[in-house]
């Protein structure tokens, strides 16, 4: 199962947990699993204007690399998943 590192603002939804183990072959399936377990996660993570990607302003990382296929990004069985704020460069 993938290990999801929950950003601090979402930990309240998960009873204060900082990580969650969850199955899911894609990022979308993983978020759906999280939503079942912790209602509110999908709303917090998925772009309401385009449900195929994470919210603008947030970047999903799978095994420390940016998820470039949106919610269709494949998730390996032992993957690490992070949701971080966008970074601005100069």
């Amino acid at each position: 199962m993938a290990r999801v590192f929950l950003p601090v603002p979402l930990r309240a939804l998960a009873g204060g947990a900082s990580t969650a183990e969850a199955p899911g072959a894609t990022l979308g399936a993983l978020i759906a699993t999280l939503e079942e377990r912790y209602p509110g996660m999908a709303e917090a993570l998925v772009d309401p204007a385009d449900p195929g990607r994470v919210r603008l302003g947030m970047v999903a990382f799978v095994d420390s690399e940016q998820a470039d296929l949106g919610l269709l990004t494949p998730i390996g069985p032992d993957a690490e998943v992070h949701f971080l704020p966008h970074i601005a460069g100069g």
Binding site: F5, P7, V8, P9, L10, A12, S18, A44, A49, L56, G57, F61, D63, S64, E65, Q66, A67, D68, E80, H82, L84, P85, H86, I87, A88, G89, G90
Partner: protein
């Protein structure tokens, strides 16, 4: 200096002249102010004299009555955009705030904010028309610092802003965002720490120092399309932004990126472009607008200032056990300072078992800040590296040894959770430790009477980004190759991208002819920013060149009447594997294109999922301080940085030296000096004190090469991390010279003399 074995390259690592060199030195390169079009009119902008004021009315009738005036636009011509987010590559911009920033609507929110714009026959007429526009303001109380903006009784700048404070929605606040990263239990670890250091560090807002002012020329066409010529770090993100604030489809806008006279992050956002489009639409002719220097200072985005409070804990052996930091940046009149990048970088150089990072994005009544080279990292790292120096003093250990002992490396987890791939942090620190500079004792006794000398070191990090790039190659029958790309050339990226294509093709770098084109002429390409251009657009060039090689193998196979799999290619030579003596050079195959199926053109498209770990830099600096005048002279400076694979070593050295010099200015002189009304008191390059060649020694450079596993040639983006170490390295050198810790930038003569007086007292 190479620390990891790498292949032998034919083109990479050489120093060819730059493709655009002659155009630049002969004055043929076209910049924004050079644009001339038939019927061109000139624009001027009327700006708010108040930092915070309600706009009661605007009367432009006297301006419109002036002969030679073609059009006037105000906020009424550009309604506030919807609350939607614009993808500006790395930065996400709220269209609502972008439209409010570009021209004031109900309120002016910073001094210098555009209130109206005029197009006229010439600049004098346009400026006179601006003077004739009557604006009735109701001045409001203003706030300029994070403390003022966060005070309980602070005036609220945006009545409708709802802040996000660690996930909670908070109305009626000037804190647009409070983010938090927590790794482990830092409070428990800090309580058990055997040695702690802490401090509060203060920073002024600083200018990127680009010489060319912002500019835009626009032509509106009657079919609803527009062309915009501008100085931008990203023609496609600029197109996205113009599209959002003017509610035009992206396909109706063509952005033509011109040569750029510096950017450093300051030319990512749009400022004049929508105004020029609206003026052109109303005037029925092209309009050019060029900012004056005061407007650049007062109305475009500098790097943010703010306050950083930090505490580090370690055991007696010097191993870090905890770090906590509170970062508060003054964003200016709209949300979006660099707190996310600051949070990523602040503890990235070290292995922290536990950490907490709080960051606050605070709106104030000043022009909105923007990216400035490694945005947010220098400000936050100033605290980290000052305290690492204090920790070394407290433990009585060598500062480089302490950094090496705790240095982050492959497999370590950053406090934001990301695990580092192969990085060169350790190798860079080792390069400094083993350098002639660090191994040569500082000549303290050589100081003149009344002078004191000190040496400081500091490390810095910038993670960089990947993202989207496109490169098209067209093969000519004389064996040269046209390279079409969409990244504005900053710092020699035409050359560094062309060299990567040339390496694959086995031809000289100057046989690849790079051209930067407009948004209608190449596939989507993200910003020239984030240390991504040589890395990501270079990877696109490699991909396109590999397709060229595959096609030319097929062409050679046709000539030899064999299968393409029977053709080898290496070093610019095709070999028939079935007849080893049969060879054709790249040029020879190109000369026969028409006989083997016609012309060859390919396109490489990439969307890179990260930077491959980013780049670390460590600097060592010696200073000489005149204790009577407070003047600081940098007497020796060495910069080491991981370049992955240095494509063009001269340009890598240039980026390293440039970052060091900008950082020296930031450390010792540069600041936006604000009057009580929020006006910039030093809004010119005579008064905004950037270092010149007379202020800096030769910057010695040590290129470290730890190849990036995410790039076909191991390239790392190197444009930004070099500006992170200078400020704390100089502060640490000052500490060594005077025994005084300077927690506020710039460390200017007055501040030094005050500290010396206090020390004497």
């Amino acid at each position: 200096m190479t620390t990891v074995e790498k292949p032998h390259y034919k083109v990479l690592g050489t120093r060819p002249i730059r493709h655009d060199g002659l155009d630049k030195v002969l004055g043929r390169a076209v910049y924004g102010a050079d644009i001339k079009l038939a019927g061109l009119s000139i624009g001027a902008v009327l700006r708010s004299p108040h930092a915070h004021a309600r706009i009661q009315s605007i009367d432009a009738s006297a301006a419109l009555a002036l002969p030679g005036v073609y059009a006037v636009v105000t906020g009424a011509d550009m309604p506030i955009a919807d609350d939607e987010l614009i993808d500006m590559t790395e930065e996400i911009v709220n269209a609502r705030f972008a439209s409010m920033r570009i021209i004031a609507h109900e309120k002016a929110l910073f001094k210098g904010q555009p209130v109206a714009a005029v197009a006229a026959v010439d600049l004098n007429t346009a400026q006179e028309a601006c003077r004739r526009i009557k604006v009735d303001y109701e001045p409001l109380p203003a706030v300029f610092t994070v403390e003022e903006a966060m005070a309980a009784d602070a005036p609220i700048i945006h009545e409708h802003l709802v802040g996000t404070h660690v996930g909670e929605k908070v109305p009626h606040t000037n804190v647009a965002e409070h983010t938090q990263h927590v790794l482990g239990d830092p409070d428990a670890a800090m309580a058990k720490a055997e040695v702690t250091v802490e401090g509060e560090f203060r920073l002024a807002r600083v200018h990127q120092g680009y010489i060319e002012p912002q500019n835009a020329t626009a032509m509106w066409y009657r079919d609803g399309k527009a062309t915009v010529w501008t100085s931008t770090q990203g023609s496609f993100p600029a197109r996205n932004a113009i599209s959002s604030v003017l509610r035009m489809p992206v396909s109706a806008i063509k952005v033509v990126p011109l040569e750029i006279g510096g950017g450093f992050g300051g030319k990512i956002n749009i400022y004049l472009e929508p105004l020029a489009v609206l003026l052109s639409k109303k005037a029925g002719r092209p309009v050019k607008v060029v900012m004056d220097r005061r407007s650049v200072f007062e109305a475009t985005g500098p790097g943010p200032g703010g306050v950083v409070r930090m505490k580090l804990g370690a055991d007696k052996a010097g191993n870090l056990v905890a770090g906590t930091v509170d970062i508060r940046f003054a964003a200016g009149a709209f949300p979006g300072s660099s707190i996310s990048a600051a949070s990523t970088c602040v503890f990235a150089s070290y292995r922290f078992p536990t950490a907490r990072i709080d960051a606050y994005d605070v709106v104030t009544n000043l022009t909105k800040t923007a990216a400035y080279r490694a945005p947010g990292s220098p400000q936050a790292t100033f605290a980290t590296e000052s305290l690492m120096d204090e920790l070394a003093h407290k433990l009585g250990v060598d500062p480089v040894a302490l950094r090496l002992q705790n240095a982050s490396k492959e497999g370590d987890r950053r406090p934001d959770g990301i695990v580092f791939p192969r990085i060169g942090n350790v190798e860079v620190l080792e390069a400094v430790r083993d350098s002639d500079h660090y191994r040569t004792p500082l000549d303290r006794a050589g100081a003149a009477p009344g002078h004191k000398r000190g040496r400081g070191v500091a490390t810095g990090y910038w993670q960089g980004v990947g993202n989207k790039s496109t490169v098209t190659l067209a093969v000519n029958n004389d064996g040269t190759v046209a390279l079409i790309e969409g990244n504005t050339d900053i710092g020699g990226t035409r050359a560094s991208i062309a060299m990567q294509a040339a390496e694959v093709l086995g031809i000289p770098a100057l046989d690849v002819h790079p051209t930067v084109v407009d948004t209608d002429s190449v596939g989507y390409t993200d910003l020239t920013a984030g240390s991504r251009t040589t890395y990501a657009t270079g990877a696109a060039a490699v991909k396109a060149a590999e397709q060229v090689v595959a096609e030319l193998k097929r062409r050679a196979a046709i000539m030899w009447e064999v299968e393409a799999t029977d053709v080898d290619f290496a070093g610019g030579v095709f070999t028939n594997k079935k007849a080893k003596d049969t060879k054709l050079t790249f040029k020879q195959v190109c000369a026969r294109l028409d006989r083997t199926g016609g012309h060859v053109a390919t396109t490489g498209v990439v969307n890179l999922r990260g930077s491959g770990g980013g780049s670390f830099a460590t600097h060592v600096v010696d200073v000489d301080v005149d204790t009577e005048t407070g003047k600081v002279e940098v007497i020796r400076y060495t910069a080491a940085q991981d370049a992955g694979t240095a494509v063009h070593p001269s340009y890598v050295e240039g980026q390293m030296a440039g970052g060091a010099v900008q950082g020296i200015g930031w450390a010792l002189n540069e600041e936006y000096y604000l009057g009580p009304d929020g006006s910039v008191q030093n809004a010119s390059f005579l008064d905004y004190r950037m270092p010149t060649m007379l202020d800096t020694p030769n910057i010695e450079t040590l290129i470290v090469e730890v190849p990036n596993t995410m790039h076909p040639f191991g390239v790392r983006g190197i444009g930004e991390s070099g500006i992170v170490p200078p400020q704390p390295a100089i502060a640490n050198a000052m500490r060594a010279a005077l025994g005084i810790r300077f927690p506020e930038l710039p460390i200017k003569p007055g501040r030094i003399l005050e500290a010396l007086d206090a020390q004497g007292a």
